[in-house]
């Protein structure tokens, strides 16, 4: 509660003062955005991570995926994506993850619950990462789905089956 209150308080200040819309002096807007809201967001990420993993792991959040920037995914050959759906109904959403790719590598995405390999598309772009990995995530109501993502040399991929490691939790 104390951690999520940091963002609650920051949002209260921001809404009361019409923050970050040009209706304050610039140094005040900077304080709203850089210190109060960003700090509140950081604390809430800790809350979400500890709730979803019961404190056993630290999940990484990437705030700049809209400009195709995520150090974690760009510098990992194998990682897990956890996608949470806050809606009270199931949805299917395309997920776009910044990755660095070369022509000799491909990405394999496995839905961990079913073990199904998903159709993916790697598109080149002019963002910070040179590629974006796109796939369709089927998400349950008020719940999450998780995906194992691995970068393979394209020649080796055809010869072996991908087996996810770790405990699969439905």
């Amino acid at each position: 509660t104390s951690k999520s209150n940091v963002l609650r308080a920051a949002m209260g200040v921001a809404q009361h003062h019409d923050a970050v819309s040009g209706t304050s002096k610039q140094h005040v807007a900077n304080d709203y955005a850089k210190h109060k809201l960003k700090s509140g967001g950081r604390h809430c990420k800790d809350v979400i991570s500890s709730v979803i993993t019961e404190g056993s792991s630290n999940l990484t959040f990437c705030d700049y995926m809209n400009i195709t920037l995520c150090d974690f995914t760009q510098n990992s050959n194998r990682f897990t994506a956890v996608v949470y759906n806050p809606l009270a109904r199931a949805v299917s959403k395309y997920i776009r993850i910044p990755v660095d790719c070369t022509p000799s590598y491909i990405f394999v995405v496995i839905e961990l619950v079913t073990g199904a390999r998903l159709t993916t598309q790697v598109r080149r772009n002019r963002g910070n990462a040179n590629c974006e990995l796109v796939f369709l995530a089927k998400l349950p109501a008020l719940g999450y789905n998780s995906f194992s993502i691995e970068k393979y040399k394209s020649s080796a991929t055809n010869k072996r089956l991908f087996t996810p490691k770790g405990k699969v939790v439905n």
Partner: protein
């Protein structure tokens, strides 16, 4: 030499080969095909005139002319190629205005991701950038905007429902808050634009709607801040903003359900997190 077209199961979007601009949308299911001309333009922020000293600023939108300028007369367009999941068209209006139009496989809307900035102001002209959609929908001065994502209110150009309006600002006087969606319609067809953030929007002529996506001003509107709306950003040359519009073109009767469901998904979009190579133990 040909027009560029992207399509999925639900929509087909055509881009003019000469201008590179969107020029028609087809809803494949309902068989609706209408011209939709989309462009990015900017109003010059007023520094005050003989009629009023009021300048355009954070609180006040006041262009000095009803006619906006084009962001570019030399737009460039690029198709990303045939792909299994997403079809994309890249549009470059100018060095500071870009756009990507996307159609995802199995998804029943058109995604327009706009990127605007840093807005140049070396010419000493404050700029208020809009995205404008022009269609042949016979909307007759009526358009609809939401109020905090809840009730959608009918707006009528140069009209207020509870008093006799003396309209002195032909553009700004018809702008309304758009928190999540704006639409125009006639008896049969409705064009809905959902936004990912609050913006100003209007319909200044029949069949047209526009949304203000970014602004950078050199004047001060004298509402207490005593600074112009001129954020210079990390590198001192202005902010770059990126956002999305989601378009729905369908019959009037089926549009309401679609924009309500899509609005929910936009407001409560999925949260993406990452763990290491070994999947984290999730509860």
């Amino acid at each position: 030499s040909d027009d560029i077209t992207i399509s999925n199961e639900f929509y087909s979007v055509n881009f003019n080969r000469n201008s590179g601009l969107m020029d028609s949308i087809v809803n494949i299911e309902s068989g609706i095909k209408i011209p939709v001309h989309q462009d990015m333009l900017w109003y010059n922020g007023s520094m005050g005139n003989n009629a009023s000293k009021q300048q355009s600023g954070a609180y006040i939108f006041r262009p000095n002319s009803s006619t906006p300028f084009h962001c570019s007369n030399d737009g460039k367009v690029k198709l990303s190629g045939s792909n299994p999941l997403v079809q994309e068209v890249y549009q470059k209006f100018s060095d500071w205005a870009y756009q990507v139009v996307r159609l995802y496989k199995g998804i029943k809307h058109i995604e327009v991701e706009w990127t605007v900035g840093p807005i140049p102001v070396k010419d000493q002209w404050g700029k208020e950038v809009i995205s404008r959609y022009e269609t042949n929908i016979d909307s007759n001065g009526y358009f609809y905007t939401d109020a905090n994502g809840r009730e959608v209110l009918e707006r009528k150009k140069n009209y207020r429902p509870t008093w006799k309006l003396n309209q002195t600002e032909p553009v700004a006087g018809n702008y309304y808050p758009v928190n999540s969606r704006i639409y125009i319609r006639d008896a049969h067809v409705q064009l809905t634009v959902l936004t990912d953030r609050s913006q100003g929007g209007s319909s200044l002529s029949s069949g047209a709607l526009e949304l203000m996506v970014h602004r950078r001003l050199l004047g001060e509107d004298s509402k207490g801040v005593a600074e112009p709306l001129n954020e210079t950003g990390q590198f001192g040359d202005g902010l770059i903003t990126r956002g999305k519009h989601w378009l729905l073109l369908d019959t009037v009767t089926s549009s309401a359900k679609q924009h309500r469901l899509l609005g929910e998904e936009a407001f409560m979009s999925p949260l993406v997190m990452f763990g290491g190579a070994t999947p984290p133990a999730l509860v």
